[in-house]
């Protein structure tokens, strides 16, 4: 029986905060569209991170005050942003030189599906009447050193997003290093998926029910 008084899992903001905690000081980071954008709100004190947006800005700052947006200063999701002091603008070929050339340390992306091997599907359901749109996702997973995924654990229909094999068309194969969901943080290792942390009131058994692939627990060192 579900007790509605007990909060299960993390909010979107809490998920974003978990991701932010894992980004080392001094990193150059690209944030995808949607939940990944929230990560920028939670840089831990004492760390300096530089955000790249692939439409041509290194040093993306916070969202501007209402009414102060510039139509020509937007992020990859085409939302208003600001540029921090020390920022740089550049054209698209330079932007993807940063990405494909391996100069960006971490990219945080949304997901439709992630497989046990770290395969990512996040651009198309492959449905017949869907308009395929890929943007920069394939270039990011191919070129950025570390790929973090932030996503709800299941779809809005309750289907697992973490699966044995992706059924949607792939964005990249064996690219995801870590998955941050509303229920858990899961590391993608060579020998499988390992649960690093579970959200409040989430049990390993509950997590397994919500996951379409085998989950492993880290063996706790004896005290």
């Amino acid at each position: 029986m579900v007790n509605n008084d007990i909060k299960i899992g993390w909010s979107r903001a809490e998920m974003a905060q978990k991701v932010a905690l894992d980004i080392p000081d001094g990193s150059y980071v690209n944030l995808g569209i949607g939940i990944p954008e929230l990560v920028a709100d939670f840089v831990p004190e004492g760390r300096e991170l530089i955000y790249q947006t692939e439409n041509g800005l290194l040093g993306m700052g916070p969202v501007p005050e209402e009414g102060k947006g510039d139509r020509e200063l937007v992020n990859a999701g085409k939302k208003y942003i600001t540029a921090i002091p020390g920022a740089a603008y550049f054209h698209h070929a330079d932007s993807f030189t940063m990405i494909r050339g391996g100069h960006i340390d971490i990219c945080v992306l949304g997901a439709m599906q992630v497989s046990k091997d770290g395969d990512l599907a996040n651009w198309s359901t492959g449905a017949k009447n869907a308009i395929p749109a890929v943007g920069g996702a394939m270039d990011l997973v191919a070129g950025v050193k570390r790929i973090f995924v932030i996503t709800q654990h299941v779809t809005k229909y309750g289907d697992p997003k973490i699966v044995d094999e992706c059924t949607f068309p792939l964005t990249g194969k064996q690219v995801v290093e870590c998955i941050y969901t509303n229920l858990a943080i899961i590391d993608v290792k060579k020998d499988g998926l390992f649960v690093r942390e579970m959200a409040p009131n989430v049990s390993f058994e509950y997590l397994m029910v919500k996951t379409g692939a085998k989950l492993n627990q880290y063996i706790k060192a004896k005290v």
């Binding site: 947006t53 692939e54 439409n55 041509g56 800005l57 510039d70 139509r71 020509e72 200063l73 937007v74 085409k78 540029a83 603008y89 550049f90 054209h91 698209h92 070929a93 932007s95 993807f96 990405i99 494909r100 009447n129 308009i131 395929p132 749109a133 890929v134 943007g135 920069g136 996702a137 394939m138 270039d139 990011l140 191919a142 070129g143 068309p169 792939l170 964005t171 990249g172 194969k173």
Partner: protein, 237 residues
């Protein structure tokens, strides 16, 4: 004397012919040369191949060009946005062709086209449906796919500042595809918010050197695309 400045929008696009390949700058509305696009609608050239990151919003700018049935094919990375209605309808009706290209590959194909490089290898799209049918090769143990440079007959680009030589400065993230599209097209047509006298742009700050630009026109107050979309306006007005 070299003077690339022209004074009317109709003159700016007059040479565009049916079947031409045209690169159009912009990432969404940032950097979209809306006045030049509307002038191309007035001009009426048909069966165009458009190379652009998106396919426009509402019923103005690039979306209006597509709605006016002047576009046979689009080469782009993200053909839908929150307000794109025109492209999805025509695409689902089989009335427009789409070549979907990862954004970085699109940028590099344009850069390569402008730099005289016919083809190159990239790891983007390996193991995905977008790599199907493409030649691939292993370098240092990693797989790459072969992609071809793109050249265009024309480019339509929006800049912040220009001079009569065609030297360009851009504004913020409106730069996006503009500089590389100027290099990859035979005739780069640029609308700039301000045309200044020769020598008034510091050579140290020039983003696009004038050699890559053939025509510049001053459009001091370009239309605000989002506002036009909000007001549900359609071009031609």
């Amino acid at each position: 004397m070299i003077n690339k400045q022209i004074n009317s929008l109709s003159e700016a696009v007059a040479d565009i012919f049916d079947g031409a390949t045209i690169m159009i700058g912009g990432f969404g509305e940032a950097g979209s040369p809306i006045e030049l696009i509307h002038s191309l609608i007035d001009h009426g050239a048909k069966s165009l191949t458009i190379v652009s990151n998106n396919t426009g919003s509402g019923h103005v700018g690039l979306a209006a060009l597509i709605e006016n049935r002047q576009v046979a094919k689009t080469i782009c990375s993200f053909p839908r946005t929150a307000n794109s209605k025109v492209f999805p309808e025509l695409y689902n009706a089989g009335k427009i062709e789409l070549e979907l290209v990862p954004q970085g590959t699109l940028a590099e194909r344009i850069r390569a086209g402008g730099a005289g490089i016919p083809a190159f290898y990239t790891s983007a799209s390996v193991n995905t449906p977008l790599a199907e049918g493409k030649e691939s090769q292993i370098f240092n143990g990693q797989e790459y796919v072969l992609e071809y440079g793109i050249k265009a007959d024309f480019a339509l680009v929006k800049a912040e500042k220009a001079d009569r030589y065609g030297n360009l400065l851009y504004h913020a993230t409106a730069r996006n595809f503009g500089p590389i599209m100027c290099t990859a097209s035979k005739i780069a047509i640029v609308q700039a918010k301000k045309i200044v006298g020769a020598g008034q742009i510091d050579p140290e700050t020039v983003v696009t050197p004038g050699i890559f630009v053939q025509k510049v026109i001053e459009i001091r107050n370009p239309a605000d695309e989002s506002k036009l979309v909000e007001e549900e306006l359609s071009y031609p007005w």
